[in-house]
């Protein structure tokens, strides 16, 4: 009996160790979303596209790490690949691969003061959809099923809560919602319209899984909140004044270059991903997790 309880304890420790890294949550949730999209929402997403995209991001990361002599870790490129396959639609596997390579290379090439500028998935997504007619962003593909929206909210809450970046997700959603409701009130539209607009799966995926990336958002909480408001405002403008349904996704890539400015105005410690052995000590600042190296 003692053996069993010891085993269970060990197992529990392993699970919590696994979940201590927010990226593991992300990987689980994004993979579930891909499965859900493929099987329940009948996305045209052949499995080999997913494999090709994952292969290209992980491969690019491996090569780039080798070149700069950093320890290779497959988790971040895996997350980028999953986000890409969720939001980028294409019939061409070559474009899937290209998106992956582009996304990860941007991390190594476009940098400022030791931090990469663009959210890799966002970068790959936008560049590909702008350059090729064969690749596009499909904001309507998730529909507006409210239950599904709630499901995403719940899952997203966990993920970003773990990543300590729920603040940017919430700030984005709240400010975007305020703009939508404001617009409806100004137009005299029924409030079912902004409610409908908020129940967008693509918006929630963006809020919880893309903009929440700790590496490309401002380091300080105030900076992040202001940044989220800026992204929401720009995204709203692109959507309603320039009639591009992917407004919010474009807003992120357009505002990414001024994140260093936010960091300068609101300095704070930088986030590091935890290692497998979680160190319980040394968390001196809420956004800093000292790697146990």
């Amino acid at each position: 009996m003692a053996g069993i309880s010891q085993y269970m304890q060990k197992r529990g420790a392993l699970i919590s160790a696994l979940l201590a890294d927010p990226r593991h949550y992300q990987i689980i949730v994004l993979s579930s979303l891909i499965l859900l999209g493929t099987f329940h929402f009948a996305f045209q997403l052949p499995w080999w596209h997913v494999v090709a995209c994952v292969g290209s991001t992980v491969g690019t990361q491996a090569i780039a790490d080798k070149i700069i002599g950093r320890r290779f870790d497959a988790r971040s490129p895996l997350i980028s690949a999953l986000s890409l396959t969720l939001l980028l639609r294409t019939g061409s596997v070559t474009l899937s691969v290209a998106a992956g390579i582009l996304a990860i290379s941007s991390k190594y090439i476009v940098r400022w003061r030791g931090k990469h500028i663009f959210n890799p998935a966002n970068f790959g997504l936008v560049i590909l959809s702008l350059l090729f007619t064969g690749a596009w962003i499909s904001p309507g593909q998730w529909g507006t099923a409210p239950i599904f929206a709630l499901f995403l909210l719940g899952m997203g809450g966990i993920v970003t809560g773990k990543a300590k970046r729920w603040d940017v997700s919430i700030a984005l959603l709240v400010s975007y919602a305020a703009l939508l409701f404001g617009r409806a009130l100004w137009l005299g539209d029924p409030l079912t319209i902004p409610v409908h607009q908020l129940q967008s799966g693509a918006l929630l995926i963006f809020a919880f899984f893309m903009i929440s990336d700790p590496k490309t958002t401002p380091d300080a909480r105030l900076g992040r909140v202001l940044y989220a408001i800026l992204v929401a405002t720009l995204g709203f403008t692109i959507q309603f004044a320039f009639y591009n349904a992917a407004g919010i996704i474009l807003a992120l890539i357009l505002t990414a270059p001024i994140v260093p400015l936010f960091d300068r105005l609101f300095p704070a410690g930088r986030i590091h991903w935890p290692n497998f052995q979680i160190s319980k000590t040394g968390v001196s600042h809420e956004t800093v997790q000292i790697p146990a190296e």
């Binding site: 929402f41 009948a42 045209q44 639609r89 294409t90 019939g91 090729f132 007619t133 064969g134 690749a135 596009w136 499909s138 904001p139 309507g140 593909q141 998730w142 529909g143 507006t144 100004w186 137009l187 005299g188 539209d189 029924p190 079912t192 319209i193 409908h196 607009q197 967008s200 320039f242 009639y243 349904a245």
Partner: protein
């Protein structure tokens, strides 16, 4: 009083008989089906779009007193006379026929003598036309500006802009448009979004000259970044659900809605043979069941195809002239640079057109579709069609050992077809079996002696049997 009516009803289509060139073991012919209206209260709109250029053709199957006809549509820009064209009603009918969900028949070979195969296809006729109400007149202390005023064909058209909705409503009412009270807010919203209003009514003199009962479709060309279709005015005083068919013609690929989920209608399903006579009912109920699974409403893609060909063809692809008439303005651009779009040998031998057609069937009401439809062209060129299959069992003499096995397979297949049909339409299997029996078509084979299944253990101890 003219009616403020956005949408009219539906009508059924006649059919084309096309002999397809024989290729491999695949030959087909398409039969007409006289049917009643499948979807009431529905509208048909063709949208041609590339870049910011849009040509919208709105079909009109309004039958009745022309003085009662009036329409009001929000449009993104001021429209001048040159931008309006009266189109040919047959065009949208043809486009509808070309894109309609289709029924295909296959005939099994004699299992004793596999020789030839025949196939037949029939298309469902789904049809309708949209439209609205018209009006006309002077004044503008109400903050209403008549931007343009002209007549085209049998229509007298005004393009209005307004400063506020109350003024616009008063103006519309004093000019004979019965605008529902609730529409004021919607009008106000459009005004603030800088939309103009296209209002038309029938010019009786011109109508008399032109003759005929039907009003012809109106085509409007404009340039605007807004790729949308205003549906909100039409839902203001509508009772119940409305059906809208949108046929988009684009350069690159499929069109989908960005603010609602576009889903594919179930397709490539094998169904019992009697559906041949009930295809209309089947399709209507299948659509309804699919929509109900999404809460009763939705945007369904029924067809998405390269305009150069079809397989099987419910109607011929539209000709260059027809496409031009619908407003496809890029037809002549770099034509020879376009690669000949591939597939089958059935394709008509003509120069490749760079036109992709998408047919979206939208069922909506004010509650589930609070926002206007917004569209987006994608680069997706994967063809899709609503296609339903009948597989006729061989019904001639079968005199060979394989026959029994074949019959068993057919019976199993038919059972599956019944389940598929029940699942798609929500019909009860009992009802399906009754219909099947009554039709006398595609019934199960009577197997000589219900053959006992031979399991492997029966073979080890054959002497123990019985």
């Amino acid at each position: 009083m003219k009616q403020f009516k956005y949408l009219l009803s539906s009508a059924l289509v006649a059919i084309t008989l096309t002999a397809a060139p024989s290729a491999s073991a695949f030959c087909g012919f398409y039969v007409a089906k006289a049917d009643t209206d499948l979807f009431n209260q529905s509208s048909k709109v063709a949208l041609v779009r590339d870049g910011d250029r849009t040509v919208i053709t709105m079909a009109n199957d309004y039958i009745g007193d022309p003085t009662e006809f009036a329409m009001v549509i929000p449009v993104p820009t001021v429209i001048t006379k040159d931008q309006v064209h009266i189109s040919d009603a047959g065009l949208l009918d043809h486009l509808d026929a070309y894109t309609a969900p289709r029924l295909v028949e296959y005939f099994d070979d004699n299992p004793c003598e596999r020789r030839y195969r025949k196939e037949m296809a029939m298309r469902s006729s789904v049809q309708m036309a949209p439209m609205m109400d018209s009006a006309f007149e002077e004044a503008e202390n109400l903050g209403v500006t008549i931007e343009e005023s002209f007549s085209v064909g049998e229509y007298d058209i005004l393009i209005l802009s307004a400063k506020e909705s109350d003024g616009l409503q008063t103006w519309l009412e004093s000019n004979g448009y019965r605008v529902p009270k609730k529409a004021v807010k919607t009008l106000g919203s459009y005004i603030k979004q800088d939309m103009k209003f296209f209002v038309a009514k029938v010019n009786l003199e011109e109508k008399a000259k032109q003759g005929g009962e039907m009003l012809r479709p109106i085509a409007v060309a404009y340039e605007s970044p807004k790729f949308m279709l205003p549906i909100r005015l039409g839902t203001v005083n509508a009772n119940g659900d409305q059906d809208l068919f949108v046929y988009t013609l684009t350069k690159n690929g499929k069109v989908e809605t960005t603010n609602y989920r576009t889903q594919k209608i179930p397709s490539d399903k094998e169904l019992p043979i009697f559906i041949k006579d009930d295809f209309g009912d089947f399709y209507k109920d299948m659509y309804k069941t699919s929509a109900n699974r999404q809460g009763g409403h939705g945007v369904f893609m029924e067809y998405a195809w390269d305009m150069n060909w079809c397989d099987p063809c419910a109607a011929d692809p539209l000709s260059d002239d027809q496409l031009k008439e619908l407003g496809v303005f890029w037809l002549d651009e770099g034509r020879n640079d376009q690669p000949m779009p591939m597939p089958r040998s059935m394709r008509p031998k003509q120069m490749a057109k760079n036109v992709y057609v998408t047919r979206l069937h939208v069922r909506y009401d004010a509650e589930s579709f609070p926002e206007d439809l917004k569209f987006k062209e994608t680069g997706d060129r994967q063809n899709f069609q609503g296609r339903y299959i009948l597989r006729h069992a061989y019904d001639g003499e079968m005199d060979c050992p394989e026959a029994e096995k074949y019959k068993q397979e057919v019976n199993a297949r038919k059972e599956t077809e019944i389940k598929t049909l029940a699942n798609l339409t929500g019909w009860e299997t009992k009802y399906i079996r009754t219909k099947m029996k009554a039709s006398g078509k595609g019934e199960l084979f009577d197997l000589d002696e219900p053959k006992k299944r031979v399991d492997w253990w029966n073979k080890i101890w054959p002497s123990d049997e019985d």
